[in-house]
Symmetry: C2
Subunit: 340 residues, 2 copies
Amino acid sequence: MATNKTQRVTMSDVARHAGVSRTTVSFVLNDKPGAAIPDETRRRILGAIDELGYRPNAGARALAAKRSGWFGLITEIVTGPFAAEVITGAQSRAWGDRRFLLIAASEGDPAQEAAALDQMLEHRVEGLLYATTWHRAVTLPKAVREVPTVLVNCYDSEGELPCILPDEESGGYRATRRLLDAGHTGIGFINLDPAIPAAIGRRAGYERALREAGITPDPSLVIPGWATADGAYTAACELLDRPAADRPTALFCGNDRMAMGAYDAIKERGLRIPHDVAVVGFDNQELIAAYLRPKLTTLALPFEAMGTKGVDMLAALAAGQPLDTHRVTIDCPLLERSSV
Amino acid sequence: MATNKTQRVTMSDVARHAGVSRTTVSFVLNDKPGAAIPDETRRRILGAIDELGYRPNAGARALAAKRSGWFGLITEIVTGPFAAEVITGAQSRAWGDRRFLLIAASEGDPAQEAAALDQMLEHRVEGLLYATTWHRAVTLPKAVREVPTVLVNCYDSEGELPCILPDEESGGYRATRRLLDAGHTGIGFINLDPAIPAAIGRRAGYERALREAGITPDPSLVIPGWATADGAYTAACELLDRPAADRPTALFCGNDRMAMGAYDAIKERGLRIPHDVAVVGFDNQELIAAYLRPKLTTLALPFEAMGTKGVDMLAALAAGQPLDTHRVTIDCPLLERSSV
DNA sequence: ACAAGGAAGTAACGCGCGTTATTAAAGCGC
DNA sequence: GCGCTTTAATAACGCGCGTTACTTCCTTGT
């Protein structure tokens, strides 16, 4: 209770107050195995801690123990729902190990990224998480080699660093499969930029699902679009304006914003969702998916799970254990709402 | 370059390599005023630092200097756009002072909040930012008194702690004024729960703007709603179904989700936005406001600015300077889009 | 009775660094 | 040559703590 603002309570104060040596206090605080401390002494010490309002100094402890207890997390943008989810996942997992997360944003600027990395290394992080907002290849400053590093939602071109990625292929498969199960056979796919991993993986899953259902994928049903509502609107128009026999009864969109555009195209034509045309999105942007009418069935990128898994792997690496898998993929769960 | 993974380079290594004492190295690193270091010596030391790849140990430095360099930021939810903006603002401002931000989420759970606070105090944060997602009164654990604390987007009932708040009144005024300027005289106000500060302040601003324009506020035009799209939909219906002479030509909504509901009500009646009915939202939830059709004119809560200002005030407090203002309010800027 | 072993506790070192006091050499006026 | 200041650099202490090695006292078995 009686904390002095100008002079923090130290372990020596506690020791003096309890009538023991500082070493003994340290032993009960870390309940050191092998140290025999009678209950009575322990109680006296804990009592003193309580009375004085003692708080261990994490920095000093780290210095003495040569363990900082820090993990670093570098991300492009702290704003934006994706990074926030990664942080949440990593944060909660780290907490369990009594570790703290050092968070920095690069804002896409290599200089800021380097500065952030420097700061982290000066704080002696024991591991580093490097997360991107969209699935792609990255090249990192060499300095990351000074510390165990795990990539989240990205991978390095050299393939040297362990990484955690969303399973785009199974995501594409699952979306398509859901539409097939609902009885659709003509399924249009408004894809992202076909050069990026997400587009490639999802298309592979899309085609695998079709083949499994005995349907030969029709390339003309796959339209690579700009990843915007307007781009998807145009793409959807193209698909919906095909001759009736050829017109898809379902649309699988590269992300939720694109699904918004598709919604507009569908509604404009007096068609109804999901009765006439079913729609599946991707990304699960709550603010869009949950407020569209009808609510959008979509796949979620497992950002939170990736953050958690990232800390998992870091903890293993920091403990010197070898990784079982160098490249981990995590499923994208399907969120059923009302558009299928 | 030649960093040894198993044994970090210390200042003593640098000193030995440069043929000087550790003290001298410390002096050039902090370029201590009063210490006369010839250029030649300085160069030798900097050279050694570079060659060995030395990085100061932030923890050890903090311990010796008795300055942790940390500020803490406790927020309810890391996810969600609001917290992210506060973090961005605080982060970037803190960076300039070579300070790092310790971020933790309470998830609305007092136990987690206390745990987070404990951790922060153990890390010897020199100041604490406590941010909420919506403007309201809070009561904090007593432990916050151990360190300078600034409240962001909230205030304590006892009024003891400095706080930074959005200027709800001027926000309400600005929104209403914008509609008046567009020629509207019957302005409906679908408010939030009338008991919360945001609702009270905005209504005051709304009425002030009306009076300034020579219009006596009509209480029946103000409908307190549930802060949801559905609630606002119902409220909008009520306003729009009034007899033609009495029907408002503009709606001011408590938040953007509510504006979505209002949009639906307006469109259902074959009315057009902004031609027949203008709409102003609040909160500037990008994903909603920017994608609604037409795009929504709305007011932004100044989260990022509040985060920045928060660190500003903390820096002053931590430096022992008195605060000029105990209670700071920050304007809510109007973002013009296409719904007015 | 005595050695052996455990129980309870402590002195002392070091973690990597900031800082103060002090020393050693060099410049300056006379 | 002598004092005196300035310049250049260092020894030594302490920050708060973890940890090792060591001491002292009490049991226990034979």
